[in-house]
Symmetry: D2
Subunit: 340 residues, 4 copies
């Protein structure tokens, strides 16, 4: 739509789409609103829409993913999590423990994240664990502790929903619901996320191609939830010096194909504490819009993933360095970086 | 337990386990019954059980997976699907289309599988698809067609449950419920499968290690369902001459670590019709207990995966060759093949 | 060329090729001779050759590899190693230690291979080792021991050349020169192998695609040596239950694209002794023309790769089982297996 | 050795090593000289050396690689290429075409690199090509053009040796000899490089683990050449949005294990022009000591790799951005970044 398009113009286009038997998707942007169409069995003639009032352009999306495509919406999507814009000018840092272990532990973590300069708090109340005999999370109790941490620190809460049964509960407490790597192609869960009113953080699967990653996001948008943040967290390869191989090139690749913001998880992406800060910096330099990092008050006593968690002081160093780097990059943004 | 252990002996052991606050798992075998213990926070002294009546041996399982381990149960598990034993002396062939597309299509497929010598029918009524806009299956209608095909041909039905919402329905129609590769670490679904009374066919995830694969099965057994069939279906690598890289060495590897039967899917494992028969033969030679193969009456008109589906005549060739190979191998079984 | 083409016909075609400024390659077959053309900067009109005497057909090869393509030569190439045909009706077993360690060791190995039913002897006199401080092979002394083992047992000798400096020496002793996986894209070494009169065993590189594998063979043929045996030996993936992931689907894939014979190395392909026999059988079932297997008189005392070597008795079991399987497959060859 | 150790002290230690029958390696550093020992069949008692004059410490190296280990030499190695220090405080940019194609092309490239702010010139006179029919480089003519470009611009020349035959020639023209990814385990070539007096740029193999990478460098150092620069250039994975997957986490991983400098090749690492600048920045942020980048006066007319080459203006942008980033990082070096 044109930037000066009126609500009536938008309504008009949607009415036309509905009249044709298809589904309209109003994806608002800072400057202009994009309207996606799904449900059409074959191509539609752009001329059907080009002359409607307020329409700037009607484009046939050439990719298998439609609503996530930059062809559908040219400008970057900014997702607000508890008021914090993800995908805009500033980078966003989300920190916290792998799992919520106790009231004290999550409160201390939240204070550390806040003090270090983070804006969002992570922490799993429901944990997908390889073994049925491992700690599976505190469940709703964990969610309550997260809410308490938010109340005290003001940090927005990002926490994972591992299945549809727990989604309602997670959604009711969280500011942003995470879909983990193992669930990236759990299509029922993606559809449920698509019907949520909360933003979704979608992690890339361990052996997911870029196209599969974007198609997973498409599942969410196709149900009407356009607030999706993508997250690279490492893929599985033969390399054994890190737990996963962090594929940072997916950051500019996503940005050229999609309007959705992408952040990076250097904790799972490396699995080693001493690689987290270098790879955090590399992520920001590659263009990531933020980071999600494991922070624990006492990493050596963590119930899970302690070896990849930063302590509060290390997180503060990470944040300070990353903000300095982001400032530098922002100050030079006049120069066009993507060269093709 | 000793082979001559009485029900009372078994009950006695279980009572003791319960008294200690743990969970007993009675895993029946052809010769002897094994009793697994879970729920113990740390190691238990084997002496607690060794002197109980009917106990042959009390073993501490050294692996992260407990109930699936061959340490827990030495003899092969045989899973019966609609009366067909999977994991015993004979190999089992399961054939059918990727998706149930229509009544005619599934009936024709079933007749072809039956005529070709197959004993089980596959076909998805619920399909996990990379794109939200692809055909997602006929749902319950598809399940009804499968039941009709079973009624006509006598073939047992293997069909996939993609989420917990549809599990009850799938379970009520199927003789064996498939958990697909993308859901191998959908732990809620695995737990639901563990509470089912139907056998489960668990496919290896695309980038799953052997340990993760066995741990996924452990989720099912830990809930009390000991009838699990494992299935290798190819893993994701750089190699591009096949859709996935069929990792047949996982067959003997599973067999040395676990008592559960393993079969192979050469259709997804190669993604190319002309590789299916050679890899089917290779699977049997490697020791697989059966195959699950895509068969379609008219592969070129299939709604999904047609390029990797066999036509009825090709399936008949596959079956004839595989049975001949299996007969040869069975006739030579006196020779111990595993050499370590 | 037609099957009844005369030497004069062949000469005529070659003369024409030379006259055009290109390079002719006479690749003899059991039934018919193929003549490949290289050195042409662009496509040549087939009509230039179609009317020459003795020409059956002039085909433009559509692949990047030309001389190895089945388009160039339709019938299977049979490579003779010390008189043993590799690529014909019968499978060929090559056994022996990773490295020649001593006169006694290689003689005992050779006797074991011979007694077990093998026809070729493997053993490295020059070893490519990851560490500069590991045992690098006995060099020419090792070659002399191999020659002695051949003299005593009649087994043909397959041994590796690791560089051009040692190629002359290796070539002078060996019946077949092996190019190892690490050298699959050592193009100078490939060119040297192409100027050799001895057959070449070319192993697939650890992360080589099928096309790269065939292009490596093309380097050898392009220099005039058409006696190349390909060998699958496992590729590098995330899977950790075997040392490498044996990619058996490359066997039928090579066979549909190339006339060159392909064999399998289940020892390096699995890296574990107890997986060797199952994967050897799987290789034969997939259509491999032979196997190259590590055999050591006393595997536990081997200087390298002992954990994946068979002892003499295990090799005899492997050979007996594989021959029985190959006999079965040969007896059923009336049935066309590749179905597309 | 102590920082105030005299040449006589060093000589004394070496004499002792030689007297014991081992090989001494004098590896000079900015502050202190390290002396490595190889050739010992088993561990040596550190006490043998601790009391010798000038000795600061005698350490048993725990890794399979010895001379490249940071245990042997604690401070960073700085390698001088045509006077340019690689591995020190400043980052170094090396640019130039994939292959030297003509006098004009390489001179223009060199001028562009110089003007853009680069200090080293890359360009292959000998090219390892997948196909025997592709352009294989201009050979010595190409080397002469490179020398001419150096004479005009003052840029140091980095160029590849693909085999031992051409090594002497390459070495005589180059300021730094490159060993390519395909040759990372060409051990004869590594040994030859170890006997060279020119610095060596060693690229990581396509499926090389970190340990194999360091062991390949060890081959060079073991022969007496301690001037080795490591280079990450992407590894082979299933991911298909880039030509290779750039594994930047290897940068901090190398730096914690080895004293050798590591740089990154974002051109091969991504294979796509528009990903080069983001990944170049990410590399510097991860701690890389420099970059090697493909630059071509007219990328669209390049004989090889044009789609991943930058044009002169793009290279100037890359250089400006990378230097600005490196300045920022250097200015903050007070903060300890590695946190473990």
């Amino acid at each position: 739509m044109q930037s000066q398009a009126t609500p009536a113009d938008i309504e008009g286009v949607c009415a036309k789409i509905v009249a044709l038997g298809f589904k309209p998707h109003i994806i608002p942007g800072e400057q202009r609103t994009a309207i996606g169409i799904t449900g059409n069995p074959g191509p539609i003639d752009p001329a059907e829409f080009e002359s409607l009032p307020g329409v700037a352009d009607a484009i046939r999306v050439s990719k298998a993913y439609k609503l996530v495509s930059r062809e559908t919406k040219r400008e970057d999507t900014v997702v607000r999590v508890n008021g914090v814009p993800v995908g805009g000018e500033r980078i966003v840092l989300c920190g916290g423990p792998c799992a919520v272990e106790s009231r004290e532990q999550i409160l201390e973590s939240a204070r550390a994240v806040k003090a270090g300069g983070g804006e969002l708090l992570r922490g799993g109340a429901y944990k997908p664990r390889t073994s049925p005999y491992s700690f599976q999370g505190l469940g709703e109790q964990g969610l309550r502790y997260l809410a308490e941490a938010r109340a005290e620190t003001g940090l927005g809460v990002v926490t994972e929903a591992v299945d549809i049964e727990s989604f309602d509960l997670v959604e009711s407490y969280a500011d942003c619901v995470q879909i983990g790597a193992r669930n990236m192609q759990n299509f029922s869960l993606l559809r449920r996320a698509g019907r949520s009113r909360k933003p979704i953080l979608l992690k890339r699967g361990m052996s997911s191609t870029l196209e599969e990653f974007l198609m997973a996001a498409e599942y969410i948008l196709a149900e009407g939830n356009y607030n999706v943040i993508l997250c690279e967290r490492g893929v599985r390869t033969f390399a054994d010096h890190t737990r996963n191989t962090l594929d940072l090139s997916v950051v500019p690749a996503v940005q050229s194909l999609s309007h959705l913001p992408i952040i990076v998880d250097p904790s799972h992406g490396t699995g080693k504490r001493d690689k987290v800060i270098p790879m955090a910096l590399a992520s920001i330099a590659a263009g990531a819009k933020g980071l999600i990092v494991e922070v624990h008050p006492t990493p050596d006593r963590a119930l899970s993933d302690g070896y990849q968690s930063l302590d509060p002081q290390q997180f503060a160093v990470l944040a300070e360095e990353c903000y300095a780097l982001a400032d530098l990059l922002a100050s030079r943004r006049r120069v066009p970086l993507a060269v093709d």
